[in-house]
């Protein structure tokens, strides 16, 4: 990428306490992290705190990146867990904007059909509760317990909803 240091190089520099490397990494990754976390939590203050905690964690333990996979995916793993920590402290606020029912425009429906085929429409056809569980576990890579905390529901409920979503997806894709 235009001769700029890669994320891995930046992490190496951060391990040597290079503050400007952290700033570069922040400039690269903070925007998408803010947006992606905002889709999981409607309270901007909690999102802000989670993003800050994430980069502080990156600064303190750059070595926890094991070198496999994308640095972005690693940052996401820290970010979503920091958000869950925030939600755990203020459990009453657990709420996903997803569940409020965002209206999907006709244009989006078409786009989804073109770009992602049947899976996208099958996913969109799930009820918001089931979709949130699929997103948290399969797409966000959380464990059952973490997903339960993020969504503010018990682990058992996460499991039953996943099973129901699986059945529904299987039928839609058959």
């Amino acid at each position: 990428m235009e001769g700029e240091p890669s994320d891995r190089v930046l992490l190496g520099a951060i391990a040597d306490a290079d503050r400007s490397a952290l700033q570069t990494l922040y400039e690269r990754h903070a925007p998408w992290l803010v947006l992606r976390l905002s889709r999981r939590c409607s309270d901007p203050d909690l999102v802000d705190q989670a993003v800050q905690d994430t980069f502080v964690a990156v600064w303190r333990k750059p070595g926890s990146y094991k070198g496999s996979g994308e640095v972005g995916a690693w940052i996401w793993g820290i970010g979503i867990r920091r958000l869950i920590d925030q939600l755990r402290r203020r459990p009453a606020l657990a709420a996903t904007p997803e569940l409020e029912g965002i209206v999907v425009s006709a244009e989006d429906q078409v786009l989804a059909g073109v770009e992602h085929g049947d899976l996208a429409s099958a996913l969109n056809a799930l009820s918001p509760e089931l979709r949130a569980v699929v997103q948290a576990t399969i797409l966000d890579g959380l464990t059952i317990r973490e997903a339960g905390r993020l969504l503010g529901i018990p682990s058992g409920t996460v499991k039953t909803r996943m099973a129901r979503a699986r059945v529904q997806l299987r039928e839609a894709l058959a």
Partner: protein, 278 residues
């Protein structure tokens, strides 16, 4: 990467206007596509504010173990830092004290005189720590502590408690090999408490350093003269138990001094306030 998210779709993603499937797809792509990430728009003021918060933590000097421990115990951040900055709680000081105590204990196992040396030395250590706990000469944070939104009295008390606790623990642990001496191995505790409280009480009329040095040397001199007087007489029984300070009467005296000292400190705490501001 050949495929990129359509800029218009990206725009709607940032405004949370795309459906879940599209969002999931975009998010999966963003994880490893720097070009698309760079096109995302988030309020720059928000990003700057968040970075300032991260930078605050990053630029903060690393906490020393004492401060970390105090925070664990639920002490407020500011208080923890002020207490942790106590010179007598810093590594060089603690190491020096540990070495001194170790030598004294070794000497103590060598015989009566060595044991006496340990008993006389032990109370001096907390005095030294308390005297150095607060003051313009020894405290690197003195200017800060004077300006700190906390009464000087409260700070001195907090630091003295921290110093006293750490010193007594250190000496107490080191003295375990002397358990054979019975209750005498703990005979330094009351003199230590009494002399420390006296140091604090005197600190309301003079600098803590002067108070500490004065009291420590008086204590050492009296003990020395006392021991020399005893050595001249007939050497029956345990030498240490015949030294006045470690006799029951002496122990009671130091307990009284501790009580009076505490009373004086509480009565005169405003003086400390004024002294620390001049």
């Amino acid at each position: 990467m050949s495929w990129h998210v359509d800029p218009a779709v990206m725009e709607r993603y940032a405004r949370q206007e795309v459906g879940p499937a599209d969002a999931a797809s975009i998010e999966a792509h963003l994880v490893d596509c720097g070009a698309c990430r760079a096109r995302l728009h988030v309020d720059p003021a928000r990003l700057d504010r968040l970075w300032a918060g991260v930078a605050d933590v990053v630029d903060e000097p690393s906490r020393n173990p004492v401060e970390a421990l105090l925070r664990q115990l639920g002490v407020r951040d500011r208080t923890a830092r002020l207490v942790a900055a106590t010179p007598a709680l810093h590594m060089p000081w603690l190491v020096a004290m540990a070495v001194t105590v170790a030598l004294a204990v070794v000497a103590a196992t060598a015989g009566d005189r060595g044991f006496l040396f340990f008993l006389v030395l032990a109370p001096v250590l907390p005095i030294a720590g308390v005297a150095a706990a607060y003051g313009p000469r020894v405290d690197p944070m003195y200017e800060l502590t004077v300006a700190a939104p906390m009464p000087a009295f409260e700070l001195l008390l907090l630091r003295s408690t921290a110093v006293l606790t750490s010193t007594v623990l250190l000496v107490g642990v080191a003295a375990i090999p002397l358990a054979g001496e019975g209750w005498l191995m703990a005979a330094w505790l009351l003199p230590a408490l009494g002399l420390t409280m006296a140091t604090l009480a005197l600190s309301t009329v003079m600098s803590p350093i002067h108070a500490g040095v004065g009291l420590a040397s008086t204590w050492a001199a009296v003990a020395f003269l006392n021991v020399r007087g005893l050595a001249g007489g007939d050497a029956t029984g345990d030498l240490a138990s015949r030294v006045l300070a470690f006799s029951p009467a002496g122990q009671a005296l130091f307990l009284t001094i501790a009580v009076i000292g505490t009373f004086v400190v509480i009565q005169r705490r405003e003086t400390l306030e004024i002294r620390s501001n001049t």
